[in-house]
Amino acid sequence: MSGMAKVAGTGVYVSGNDIDTDRIIPARYLKCVTFDELGPSLFYDERFNADGSSKGHPLDNPNYSGAEILLTDNNFGCGSSREHAPQAIQKFGLKAVIAGSFAEIFHGNCTTLGIPCLVMDAENRSKLAATIESQPDAEIIIDLEALQVICANEIYPVSMKESTREAFLAATFDPLDNLLSAEAEIRQTAARLGYA
């Protein structure tokens, strides 16, 4: 696995604070035993009326079709720990999320799946949102090494928890192999605590 230093693609802006995991994927779509089919259910109730007709959500606006970077506001992903939410985002084709802030469990789930979550301040978000609206084909480049986003010749500073950034750059965002390599220490810890 090679490190993930850059993510690039066009963007889509979904506005709002406190967009919770029930909005990202309504609970009825959690009835599954694999995550494979979740893409089309992303933001379902925000996108479609009960009769299946479109509500005109940005994800369904042809201007933003094929977008790979999601821009949104504060406390994105609050609520449930359901990995179905980041899985749906990934399966839909989105590769990274930029927001004012993230709920923690959601942020951790995204990281494990290799979806970088970047924090950007309100002023820069509204500038980037305006650019996405006026130039939907403009490529957004997320540079994890420099911690900046480049779009239409503008540079936007972003932040990310250092341990998370390290994990992306070293491609250890999926920690399982690393965790398993400490088998002996795990056994010692379990024995010390009386758990084994």
Partner: protein, 472 residues
């Protein structure tokens, strides 16, 4: 310098620091259920891995199980398949499964404590954000995603960043009719839905000290709604007495030795916190939500806020929430008509919740236009409630007494709102569409407040409706 419980439990369970700077932390107890865990077994299989510590994981079913007819196969094919996959995976891997009709099935966060699987000083995780509930026993209790469920199955460890600790003191004495649910809704209202990001919440102070374990679980349960990664309460005699005699708790000398060990995990008197706030019990009233996040809450005596009072994005949030809820700015929340009353969930589905409601609804009737359901949190809660005749009290009042499950808290089962129905709900989330209809409306409140709303047919002050001392 003393340590907080968080630091002690963390230090005990750290296996090592990882190169990224994160820590590898051993999980003492892992709970799994049918919605977020079956996929993890598939991931293990794909990697050719086995469950490393099968006796540290326990399974049950709660989210998708119907509360009317639980006979197998379930009417919903996918629900049946999800249970079957979990049942097969647990059997194959030697994991204990509390299946329906085993006598121990229930909502995972009700089951762990009532069996005594949840013990002070543990690190606990589960693919469910309300795992925070177990913090009531003095645990670091974490909601995790499915890939992390995989990590724990394969290694019994998680990669984690340490958390800051905010001590929240609740001092004084709660007035009659003010409950643990009101305490946590009030805390979230003050600190916000993302006020806890980066923190573990340590709840303390005389109000918390005087709470029963079931009340403490209600408080810790909604830590996640406040944005905290987890919440906990230091273990004390109340904790130990609750655990004494539970099925999976040692007895005799071993119990006394365990209490000694558990007591030592409590935060030291000179522990240092990253933040500390104090809330006065006298300021807490029966609290209800008016909007679409748990922080959009007011006391039952207040009016719904107006977007005119704020600027910017906040203005839009209030406007959108009022539109969704079909409420008028500046109008009282009291008197808002309801269609459904729901008592249950991992927040308020324990025996004492039903006892508290039974004590006030005896001899009263649910309003004609209200559909009211009471859903015990587990088979054990159901049996205990029936033994006390509570099911009959509820039924005589016009509630349906259901079988255990998550029910209408998240509507992954047949219990759902229809259209834009309004539900007075003892659950934990009032998110848009949460209760199964994309236009359904949820008003969160305590179980006795749900009972008052059920009887009146509209949001009401339980202190007035039931003549609780202390009402104005």
């Amino acid at each position: 310098m003393g340590k907080s419980l968080f630091q002690k439990v963390w230090d005990d369970h750290v296996v090592r620091q990882l190169d990224s700077g994160q820590y590898q932390v051993f999980m003492a107890l892992h709970l799994i259920h049918e919605v977020t865990s079956p996929q993890a077994f598939g991931m293990l299989k794909d990697k050719g891995l086995k469950v490393a510590y099968p006796d540290r994981t326990y399974a049950t079913v709660d989210h998708i199980i119907p509360t009317d007819n639980q006979s197998r196969p379930l009417a919903d094919d996918m629900a049946e398949k999800m249970i079957q996959v979990l049942s097969d995976a647990t059997a194959e891997n030697g994991i204990e499964f509390f299946a329906p009709e085993s006598g121990s099935q229930g909502i995972v966060h009700v089951v762990g404590p009532e069996l005594g699987l949840t013990q002070p000083g543990m690190t606990i995780c589960c693919g469910d954000s309300h795992t925070a509930t177990h913090g009531a026993f003095g645990c670091i209790a974490l909601g995790i995603g499915t890939s992390q469920v995989r990590d724990v199955l394969a290694s019994q460890t998680l990669a984690m960043d340490p958390l800051k600790v905010r001590r929240i003191n609740v001092e004084g004495e709660l007035a009659p009719g003010v409950t643990a649910k009101d305490v946590i809704l009030h805390i979230i209202r003050i600190l916000g839905v993302n006020g806890g990001v980066g923190y573990a919440y340590e709840y303390a102070g005389s109000v918390i000290d005087n709470m029963t374990m079931e009340e403490r679980m209600t408080v810790c349960n909604m830590s996640i709604e406040g944005g905290a990664r987890c919440g906990y309460i230091n273990p004390d005699e109340t904790t130990f007495e609750f655990l004494r005699g539970k099925e999976r708790i040692p007895s005799g000398d071993a119990f006394d030795a365990a209490c000694e060990k558990w007591r030592a995990y409590a935060s030291d008197a000179d522990a240092v916190y990253d933040d500390e706030i104090t809330i006065q019990a006298a300021d807490i009233e029966p609290t209800v939500t008016w909007g679409v996040t748990p922080a959009q809450a007011i006391s039952i005596r207040e009016n719904v806020p107006s977007p005119a009072s704020v600027e910017g994005l906040e203005k839009n949030l209030i406007t959108d929430a009022l539109n969704y809820m079909q409420l008028q700015a500046d109008a009282p929340i009291k008197g808002t008509p309801i269609d459904v009353a729901f008592i249950g969930s991992c927040t308020n589905g324990r025996l004492s919740d039903f006892e508290a409601v039974a004590a006030v609804i005896r001899g009263r009737k649910v309003a004609d236009n209200v559909r009211a359901i009471a859903v015990p949190g587990s088979e054990k809660v159901d049996v205990a409630a029936r033994a006390k005749g509570l099911d009959k009290v509820f039924e005589e009042a016009g509630f349906e007494w259901r079988k255990p499950g998550c029910s209408m808290c998240l509507a992954m089962n047949p219990d759902k709102l229809v259209g834009d129905e309004v539900c007075a709900s003892s659950s934990n989330r009032n998110f848009i569409g949460r209760q199964g209809s994309s236009t359904g409306r949820t008003i969160l409140m305590s179980p006795v407040m749900v009972a008052a709303a059920a009887v009146e047919g509209c949001v009401a002050d339980a202190r007035d409706v039931f003549g609780m001392k202390g009402a104005a």
